[in-house]
């Protein structure tokens, strides 16, 4: 399910639309993931506060979204762009890659709630494909 030219255009222009709200979106998506899929909390046992207003959650959500933004800038070579992050997740963090899908779902839920009119099914399918490719690139170094 590789990204067509159209997918890439749609993802880039939606990212521009998201603009400065990306940090909020990332924070909210991470917070929702921890709340709705509590098994994901197992990776953050070292944080003192896993609630939606936790400063640790907010900070990490914006870190994640910054990485997503960088990946969009290098959308033609996601594997290369995410190589070192993939190594980090594979060898140091050892996050089960199934969780990337869970976070992607929550990102989409938040985007849909922030942009109900703009997040049409066409925008949704391109974004979903992109996030799946991103997850795949992030799991590239696992084995």
């Amino acid at each position: 399910m590789s990204l067509s030219g159209r997918d890439k255009t749609i993802v880039k222009s939606f990212w521009d639309k998201i603009g400065s709200r990306s940090a909020d979106i990332g924070a909210e998506a991470l917070g929702r993931m921890l709340r709705v899929f509590p098994q994901t909390k197992t990776y953050f046992a070292h944080w003192s506060d896993l609630g939606p207003d936790s400063p640790q959650v907010r900070k990490h959500g914006s870190v994640i979204m910054a990485a997503v933004g960088e990946a969009i800038g290098k959308i033609d070579d996601l594997t290369g762009a995410l190589s070192s992050l993939s190594e980090l997740h594979a060898f140091k963090l050892r996050v089960d890659p199934a969780n990337f899908r869970i976070l992607a779902h929550n990102l989409i839920v938040v985007i849909a709630s922030y942009f109900p009119a703009d997040f049409t099914p066409e925008a949704h399918v391109s974004f979903d494909k992109f996030l799946m490719r991103l997850a795949f690139a992030l799991s590239e170094r696992y084995r």
């Binding site: 709340r35 779902h105 839920v109 849909a112 709630s113 099914p121 066409e122 949704h124 399918v125």
Partner: protein, 147 residues
């Protein structure tokens, strides 16, 4: 048996009491057919599903989306017995319709996203958790009679 908190029961009742079935049902099913196009395999006799615009405007899709959403009403009314409520429907989807049960999850994800879009800020983390738990139980019940 599934344990429901008072908050979860109230949240599910509230969401469905305000639900615009003729809007949300078609939106969820058509979104599923666009975002996960392999799901179109079950709708060969629905006419034109050629592109997103055709799917979104297809009256058979719209009607079926409403039907599916109303299918959740029985679970809303009997949250303590969802498994037995859907036993027959599960057999139907397995033996007659031959639907891969993974599709129930795809549709429930699309429904969650459509409801998030329509409720906005009201669809906070706690509400989402209740809604997704409810849908997960329904999805599980629908897949239960497969063998």
């Amino acid at each position: 048996m599934v344990e429901w908190t008072d908050f979860e029961r109230a949240t599910i009742a509230d969401i469905f009491s305000k639900m615009k079935y003729e809007v949300v049902g078609p939106a969820a099913l058509s979104r599923c057919l666009v975002v996960y196009p392999w799901t179109q395999r079950y709708f060969g006799n629905f006419g034109n599903l050629y592109n997103a615009a055709a799917i979104m405007g297809n009256p058979m899709v719209a009607k079926h989306g409403t039907t599916i959403l109303h299918g959740l009403d029985r679970a809303v009314k009997n949250m303590d017995n969802i498994k037995s409520e859907y036993a027959e429907l599960s057999v139907l989807h397995s033996e007659k319709l031959h639907v891969d049960p993974d599709n129930f999850r795809l549709l429930s994800d699309c429904l969650t996203i459509v409801v998030a879009g329509s409720l906005g800020k009201e669809f906070n983390g706690d509400v989402q958790a209740a809604f997704q738990k409810f849908l997960a139980v329904v999805v599980n019940s629908l897949g239960r009679q497969y063998h």
